[in-house]
Amino acid sequence: MSYYDIDSILTDAEKIPCTFQLDVPELGYLDNQPGQTLKTGTKILLPLWIAEMLAIANTGDIDNKSFVDFDLPSALGNDVQQALKADPRAVPLRDQSAHFYALATHMMDLSDEPQLSATLRRTFVTRAAEISLHARKVGGGVGKGKGGASEEASNIGVGGAGEEFLRGLEEWERKLFRKAHDGSKAAKEWMETVKKH
């Protein structure tokens, strides 16, 4: 997670639901009402880069109350967790968030979620095996392009289901897929030159 890391910056733009714990006259625009006071108890979606600091900042209050309380984003909500428990491979993570795992680890830094952590670990392991399977099966002539890879995936017997699965990969999984794919392709090419000589 470097300061300059593009994916890390985009992860910080993911929105999470927050509840304000005080009245703020100048911040009405956050709730689409510029010029009005943002009232205590207002629920709004804030990007992580605001929400995180508002949630952990020390307000100097005696009760140690913070500016906002936050919940897990819907991408990590109960529905998604249940679906992941049922079958990790059946959930298109990309539709939840393009940076699903990065968002999840970030949220777990902010609050303790032992259940979520266990579910995600199992999700990743199951899906990683599936990803490596697809990466090996995809035809040799595939270019580096994302579109190309998933198009070629249709010839792998699993058919449409495989394509569907690859389309649902989030950013980190896509990187994994590309590495696994390039790796097996390079190994294959090397084997062929070995045979020739």
């Binding site: 300059y4 910056i9 985009l10 005080l22 990007p47 880069w49 605001i50 508002l54 307000t59």
Partner: protein
């Protein structure tokens, strides 16, 4: 409705796309300017919020103001990070291109190696996809690299890593490249002529598009 940081995010999405492109898309001068303007606006807001306190601001007494200040500060910091990351992505790419032997003139003369790509998106002054500062950066970086490479006269650091199959190759000249000196004397590279030369002598010219390898 637009929010602080939205423009910065757009810039980072540009950077994300840039990472996956073989060439460098046009510099987003307008967007960069807007983000910088946003930072100035936020700074002005902060100054006017703090003005009535005359330097004796107590955050625990003025929580609402403290919260607003924090949000403004975060937005400024966010914009700074977006701006830096955008430019860094581009300079990384430029350095890579310089190492690959790209010429400053080639780079400035882009933007469209692909038939459908950048030309459509870039505006009227499509002459260069680099900002003036970036052109300067490339020029100075090229000089640095040349000085570094100059320490070793018998090895070309930017040469190809592929072992050559043949020492000598046939090449055709695609555009005039003037006279070059080789171990076997001078060759005058005029357009459309063909030569049988040592690969090591012309590798750079092939990479730059002056020569085409035959066979």
């Amino acid at each position: 409705m637009p929010m602080y940081g939205d423009l910065g995010n757009k810039l980072v999405q540009h950077a994300k796309r840039t990472q996956n492109l073989p060439h460098l898309p046009p510099y987003q001068a307008e967007l960069v300017r807007s983000v910088a303007r946003e930072v100035r606006d936020l700074d002005r807001d902060v100054a006017s919020l703090l003005e009535p306190f005359q330097g004796s601001f107590d955050p625990s007494a003025e929580q609402a103001t403290a919260c607003t200040l924090l949000v403004n500060h975060l937005a400024i910091r966010r914009n700074k990070r977006c701006l830096l990351a955008y430019h860094r992505t581009r300079t990384d790419k430029l350095e890579e291109l310089v190492w690959n032997g790209a010429d400053i003139l080639d780079l400035a003369g882009q933007p469209a190696p692909g038939p459908n790509g950048a030309a459509a998106t870039s505006d009227a002054n499509a002459s260069s996809s680099l900002s003036p500062q970036e052109e300067d950066y490339v020029r100075q970086y090229s000089d640095l690299l040349a000085a570094y490479k100059g320490q070793w006269t018998d090895i070309d650091l930017t040469g190809s890593l592929e072992p050559p199959r043949d020492l000598f190759i046939d090449v055709r000249v695609l555009k005039d490249a003037g006279e070059i000196q080789t171990e076997y004397g001078a060759i005058n590279l005029t357009k459309n002529s063909q030569f049988y030369v040592r690969q090591g002598d012309v590798e750079r010219l092939i990479a730059q598009g002056y020569l085409q390898k035959l066979g």
